[in-house]
């Protein structure tokens, strides 16, 4: 059955190839991004202004990198991996192209965020990424059913036995490391030390596993379980928490005591992108405050565009203020670039966690 499906895909790919070969006329931007980062309204406006059509493929960090790796960086003109997932994969697989910063209007970005992202995505003196959307990972808690949950280890407490959830992915490892008094980011530079640290985190999570309803994978799966009450506390993105908060005020996004994890999704250009001009146009267009505000509202997150926050709707601002008092903002742990080799160590710990009994 799989081979049949594969052959069908191949046939479609061939057909697409032929169409693409025949219809070079209409300019196209092939964008690989996250759900809700390119709302239809914004895409239509872009096409109207520039005449460039946007072809959108939705994905996540790992799949983006895997897709680009399979083609050595071909197939897309613009991608949006998180800022910590650029330098490592670039060293390892060479899937991105250095950015020509002269083509970007840098005053459209929040200056500090632009500088931090540039620094984190620099390989051999060349910059590979600029910031777009940012947010945090923390706890989504049904405060009525589980009022005691305030930090990651509380997911392992008796109070939420069988009704907690987190992902079997690297943010969970990082979060539990911080919560148990370790500093995983400081250990990045020494693989041996990092492996030892991760072993400890893996053991903690293995103990916690009995509490977990399921390791969530897709956002909708988790949100549904939280809505129905099957899960009452989970480690998840702030945006999911605020979305549920709008439906049910009992459900809140809580910035954990040991610190929410801050991520920044970027714009990066694949090594074999065919339409860099369109890519730069899309970036500059997207960073305009009024456009950025629309995208931020659609994604339910915040933007690196300078001035867009003034145009944002009130609700998200209030929710942010409730989840993040001043101290919690200062306590956000921003991901530094992941060095090559680190993910292999984490991979094994996660494999054991998932398979182990």
């Amino acid at each position: 059955m799989l081979t049949k499906r594969a052959s069908l895909k191949l046939a479609t790919a061939f057909a697409a190839l032929m169409i693409a070969g025949g219809a070079q006329a209409a300019e196209k931007l092939r964008l690989l991004t996250w759900a809700d980062y390119a709302p239809a309204e914004v895409v239509q406006q872009f096409t109207k202004e520039t005449g460039i059509e946007v072809e959108i493929t939705l994905s996540n960090n790992e799949e983006m990198i895997s897709k680009l790796r399979a083609t050595q960086g071909a197939g897309f003109d613009l991608v949006q991996p998180s800022q910590d997932r650029i330098a490592g994969p670039q060293q390892e697989f060479g899937i991105y192209k250095p950015l020509d910063l002269a083509k970007l209007k840098s005053d459209l970005f929040i200056a500090s965020m632009l500088e931090a992202t540039k620094k984190n995505t620099t390989v051999d003196g060349k910059v590979y990424g600029v910031p777009h959307i940012w947010g945090t990972d923390g706890l989504v808690v049904n405060t009525k059913a589980a009022p005691s949950v305030a930090d990651y280890p509380d997911l392992c407490s008796q109070a939420v036995a069988g009704k907690a959830s987190f992902r079997a992915k690297r943010p969970t490892l990082i979060a539990f490391a911080f919560a148990n008094g370790m500093d995983p980011f400081a250990a990045y530079k020494d693989q041996k030390e990092y492996a030892a640290l991760m072993e400890k985190v893996g053991a903690k999570l293995a103990e916690c596993k009995k509490n977990v309803k399921f390791f969530w994978d897709g956002k909708d799966q988790l949100l549904n379980a939280l809505r129905s009450g099957e899960v009452v506390a989970a480690m998840a993105w702030d945006t999911g928490g605020w979305k549920l908060n709008s439906e049910n005020p009992d459900i809140k996004f809580v910035a954990p005591k040991s610190g929410a994890l801050g991520w920044v999704d970027t714009f990066a250009i694949p090594a074999k992108g065919r339409n860099d001009d369109a890519a730069y146009k899309w970036i500059n267009f997207n960073m305009r405050p009024e456009i950025a505000a629309k995208v931020a509202a659609s994604a339910g997150n915040f933007t690196a565009s300078n001035g867009a926050d003034k145009l944002m709707q009130g609700k998200l601002k209030d929710q942010f203020a409730e989840s993040f008092p001043k101290a919690a903002i200062d306590n956000i742990k921003w991901y530094p670039a992941v060095p090559a080799g680190i993910e292999e160590i984490e991979g094994k710990v996660l494999d054991r966690l998932k398979a182990g009994s």
Partner: protein
């Protein structure tokens, strides 16, 4: 005349040869080569057996495979037990339109994709799902019952998915059984059980083996069902392959796992054939 006939033969065979060559053989050769490369440093790879050694030295991986294999055998056995009476009824009892109708009913669920069928099971089995609700309504349960995310749910989903592939070869095999032979069995004083055991089952063996091979291979290589229905403790071997390729960016390791899955499950099928005394040739004719 001859060259034209040769050309015609060549053209007729071309799709099959291309199919086998381009879509089956070539990717496997590439996977095989890939599985022998080891990462030395960024963008530097060397030839080595390390990926295979990893499978045998890291208990996590071979245990996952052993678990997958054992559960697949269990699924195959359960499917056989469930499918046999159905196939027997379709082949021996049902006539004409009823027969076509019954086969159609078996086929019907396969008109929707595997993913949709699995999601259907999720809706039925989840804590806030239909079955849990009904159990509470009739008073058999006092609180929501979770039937999802465990090995039982995975086995249920896989048996459901494999049923058709067992029924068809079985019904084929049973159809060729002469009614007079069965009657003779009764005439000679055989009980129903004896007739079944000594006449019907031996006659159906090629069908049983063919169905079992298909169901076993489909089950061992399944991805969606174990991922969706399985729980936090159950990892299917295909999930390990996916994880290596997609989330760990470790293609050589994933390739080695892929080759191991192919070889080890082939060995299991070969053992099954040896134990049941069947040859691959007769089995394939049944399937």
């Amino acid at each position: 005349m001859m060259p034209a006939r040769k050309l015609a033969l060549f053209l007729l065979l071309a799709p099959a040869v291309l199919w086998l060559g381009l879509l089956i053989l070539l990717p496997h050769v590439e996977i095989l080569i890939l599985s022998f490369s080891e990462r030395v440093g960024p963008r530097v790879y060397a030839f080595g057996l390390g990926n295979y050694l990893e499978f045998f030295t890291e208990p996590l991986y071979w245990r996952t495979f052993a678990r997958t294999a054992v559960m697949s055998i269990l699924v195959t056995a359960l499917t056989l037990v469930l499918a046999f009476p159905i196939a027997l009824y379709i082949a021996r009892v049902a006539q004409g339109r009823l027969k076509a109708m019954l086969l159609l009913l078996c086929l019907l669920p396969f008109w929707v994709s595997e993913l949709v069928r699995t999601l259907g099971w999720m809706m039925l089995l989840r804590e806030t799902g239909l079955i849990s609700y009904l159990l509470q309504r009739v008073g058999l349960a006092s609180q929501p019952v979770e039937m999802l995310y465990n090995d039982g749910a995975v086995i249920l989903g896989l048996v459901y998915g494999g049923l058709l592939f067992m029924i068809v070869p079985l019904a084929n095999a049973l159809e060729s059984l002469e009614p007079s032979v069965v009657e003779a069995g009764y005439d000679l004083g055989g009980s129903r059980w004896t007739v079944l055991r000594r006449i019907v089952i031996p006659h159906a063996t090629p069908g049983i083996v063919a169905g079992s091979i298909i169901v076993f291979m489909l089950t061992v290589g399944n991805f969606a069902t174990p991922v969706l229905l399985g729980g936090k403790n159950g990892l299917w071997f295909t999930e390990q392959i996916y994880a290596q390729f997609i989330t760990r960016f470790n293609w050589p390791q994933g390739a080695a796992f892929g080759m191991l899955l192919l070889v080890l499950s082939s060995v299991i099928v070969w053992l099954g054939l040896r134990l049941s005394g069947q040859s691959l040739g007769t089995t394939l004719r049944q399937a």
